[in-house]
Structures are given as C-alpha cells and as structure tokens.
Amino acid sequence: MSQTPLPTPSHTVGPFYGYALPFPEGERIAPKGHPGQIVLHGRVYDGEGAPVPDAILEFWQAAPDGSLTGAPGSMRRDPVTGGHLGRNGTDFTGFGRVATDADGHYALHTLPPGNAGLPYISVCVFARGLLHHLFTRAYLRDGSDALLDSLPAARRATLVARPDENAAPRTYRFDIRLQGEDETVFLEFT
C-alpha cells in the first residue's frame, strides 16, 4: 500500500479567467426549446452588499428523471475551427457554468432536478478573493430535508430559491451573499 497522498492546495480563480473558463451556452443546461425549462437567477454580493462582477458559478444537478450520471458535451468543441460548438441541443448534461456580469448577476436555464428528496441544484462559487471555492445549494422549494432542518430559520432561508413573481413563469431567484447579514449557508462535504 503506497502512502496516502496529501491534497493539492486550492487557490483563487483570480480576476482574469474570462477568456478561459466561460463557454458558449454554459448557462443553458436545458436542451434548446425544451418546454420544461426553468430559470434560476440572482446576484452574488460581497460583505458590503456590493455586487461581485468577477465571480464564476458552476452548477451540477440530477436530471429530471433523477439520474445523477450526467452526460458529456457541456462544452463541445469544433474540431474544424478549434472553437466552441455549444451543446448538442438534445442531451441534458447536468453541468452549467456562468460568469457573473458587471452587475453581479447570473442566470441559469435548466430543467427541474429530479433528485430524491427535495429538489436542489448544487452551486459552486469561484471569485477573485476566494482562495477556496464555496459550495452551496439552491433548493427549488422548502420542505423536509436533513440539511435544511438542521439550520435556524433565517439561515435556512438562504438556501431556498424563491419563485420570482416579477419574471416569467418557472423563474426562481437565488442570491448569494458571501459575507455579513443574510450570509448564504456554505457547505463542506465530510
């Protein structure tokens, strides 16, 4: 038995990932034109309530049928031009990646997750200033759940996306507050 290796330390994604990590249709996990599409959107805020314009969010979730196997093809490449082809328009890959805009806003277009228990989308936050990414969850409704039930009401509310009545149907608002009052609950997996 070889010696157990020690982990490689995490470092910040920095401010200058924009030409490397985002990819066309990174925000569109739902196949094109799918009638069941939902939108999850919101802003990322820092400890002074200022929007964070240099964050990048990743999303991972179960398919509507509950499967957690994912599918390749989130960031398909064009072998002729070397550029991005985008998703193939039919497969549900389960993975999304969205950079926040100048106003700290993101929007993810996806299908409702069909995981066992309360439906949720796993979110991973990277940003300049974050030396280690932060995991959180966007639950699409409130209810009984081991994690939610372990939290006081105010903290629990930070994990539950709200139907956005000012927007189109099936649009959910999920803001992420990195610090301070109403700070989002961030997770570690043990």
Binding site: T8, D46, V52, G70, R77, G117, L130, E188, F189, T190
Partner: protein
C-alpha cells in the same frame, strides 16, 4: 496610504508564525488556505463569517457525490498544445508540463477534464481588463484543455508565463504561475489552483502563495524540473501531480 510590501510582509510573517505555533502545539496540518487571509486584500469582503455547514457525504443521494462528465467531444486534438493555436509561434520559453491527477487514495482520476490558463511570456493575460503595460502576443491566448488518460496523466505544451504586477499593495508582483481547473469523480472534489515554477525569487513576497501557511502544502504547488520530460530541440519539462481532496465516501469506495 497604499500599503507597502513591508506592511504585507509583516502580516504574512505574523500569520506564518501563528500557524507554525499551532502546528508545534499538535494541530493537524492544513492543506488549504484560510478564506480570510488578510494579506490578500480581495479576501476581506468575500469570506463567509459563519462556519461552513458539514454535509455528511455518506448518503449516496447526496448530489455532490457524483460529478459532471466530460468526453472527447469537449476537447479537440490540439487543445493541450497552447503553442499551436495560432498561425505563428508564440514568444517565450517553450515548456512541457505533465503529471497525474490522483484522488486521496492515490488512485488515478481517469478521463477527467483538466483546464489550464495563463499569462503570456511577458506576464500579460489576453483579457481586456489586464492593463499591465506588457505586450500582448498575437500568437498566444493562453488557454488549454485536456482529458486525463487511463493512468490519470495530463500533458500540456505551452510557454513559461512571465511574472506580473497586481494591485494588492504597492510593488506587488505575482510569481510566474499556471492556473489549473480540475474535476474529480465527485463535484465535491472540484479544485481550482495554481502551479508555480521551482526557485522563483518572488515566492516569499506573494500573499496568494503564502496564504497556504503549511510549508509542505506550499511546496506541493511547485512543479519539479524533469529533464526526461524536456523535448529535444524544443521544450523544457516540468512534472506536477495534482491530488484532489473531497469527502471520504468518494475515495474509500472500491471499484470506481
């Protein structure tokens, strides 16, 4: 008044001393940096004040114990050669960087996406907001991708990036580094990190590298020069293995 390198050095030294004392008193080593590492000023308003909430990874229904899947459609043949993405040759010292992606049990992580991005040989990113007055290189963008092979190995051909200034404090310079983004078999193993080059005189001054207060962990961010990886008449070789952290349930399980 803007902070000087000497102000930052004092903060870095104080935090290093505090960590060394903890370690001497029997605390376990910390591989990852603290999120509230004050010498890196951008961390101040962006680290949570509340402790992270532990999620027991033993439940197979935990979504984060599975992960995104990538395949041959997500890369093209030359994505791992950053010197071939433009009609001309990029300026700078050509390098070959190779290593293995492993999990905490030392097993290779196969078929997973490795993303690399970096500044050019002059220390400038192909990013509009990087206004460091060093030349852009029309033959170098600085983005690479590859999938790990059956042994968990990745290989990139690129050029050595330059050091560059940033605005953390007056006269702040980052050592040359490559940015890496890695996926494991679980979303909870996700890692974004940076690789450094051996013997860089800027190591001691950099609050980002020094945020890893464990000396052995810091050394794990530095690649090793390997002459056998150097390509004759072409490039200098560096080896850098990457070990993904993550919940125990993803690595004690057999047969994955």
């Amino acid at each position: 008044m803007a902070l000087t390198q000497s102000d930052i050095d004092t903060e870095i030294d104080d935090l290093q001393t505090a960590y060394d004392k903890e370690l001497a008193a029997g605390a376990s080593a910390r591989s990852h940096p603290a999120r509230d590492y004050a010498p890196y000023r951008s961390s101040l308003l962006r680290h949570p004040h509340q402790p992270l909430v532990a999620v027991n990874g033993g439940d197979p229904e935990t979504v984060e114990l599975s992960g995104p899947v990538f395949g041959p459609t997500d890369i093209t043949d030359i994505d791992n050669d950053l010197t071939r993405q433009h009609p001309g040759e990029p300026l700078g010292e050509r390098i070959t960087v190779s290593g293995r992606l492993l999990d905490r049990a030392g097993r290779p992580v196969r078929g997973q996406l490795v993303e690399l991005w970096q500044a050019n040989a002059s220390g400038r990113y192909a990013h509009l907001r990087d206004q460091h007055p060093a030349p852009l290189d029309p033959n170098f963008t600085g983005v690479g991708r590859t999938l790990t092979d059956d042994e968990g190995r990745y290989t990139f051909t690129t050029i050595k990036p330059g050091a560059y200034p940033w605005r953390n404090h007056t006269n702040a310079w980052r050592p040359a580094h490559l940015h890496f983004s890695l996926f494991g078999t679980a979303f909870a193993q996700r890692l974004v990190t940076q690789m450094y080059f051996p013997n860089d005189p800027l190591f001691a001054y950099d609050p980002i590298l020094r945020s890893v207060t464990d000396r052995a962990a810091r050394e794990r961010l530095v690649a090793t020069y390997r002459h056998e990886l150097s390509q004759p008449e072409f490039s200098l070789g560096y080896e850098w293995d990457i070990v993904l952290d993550g919940p125990s349930a993803t690595w004690i399980e057999e047969g994955r």
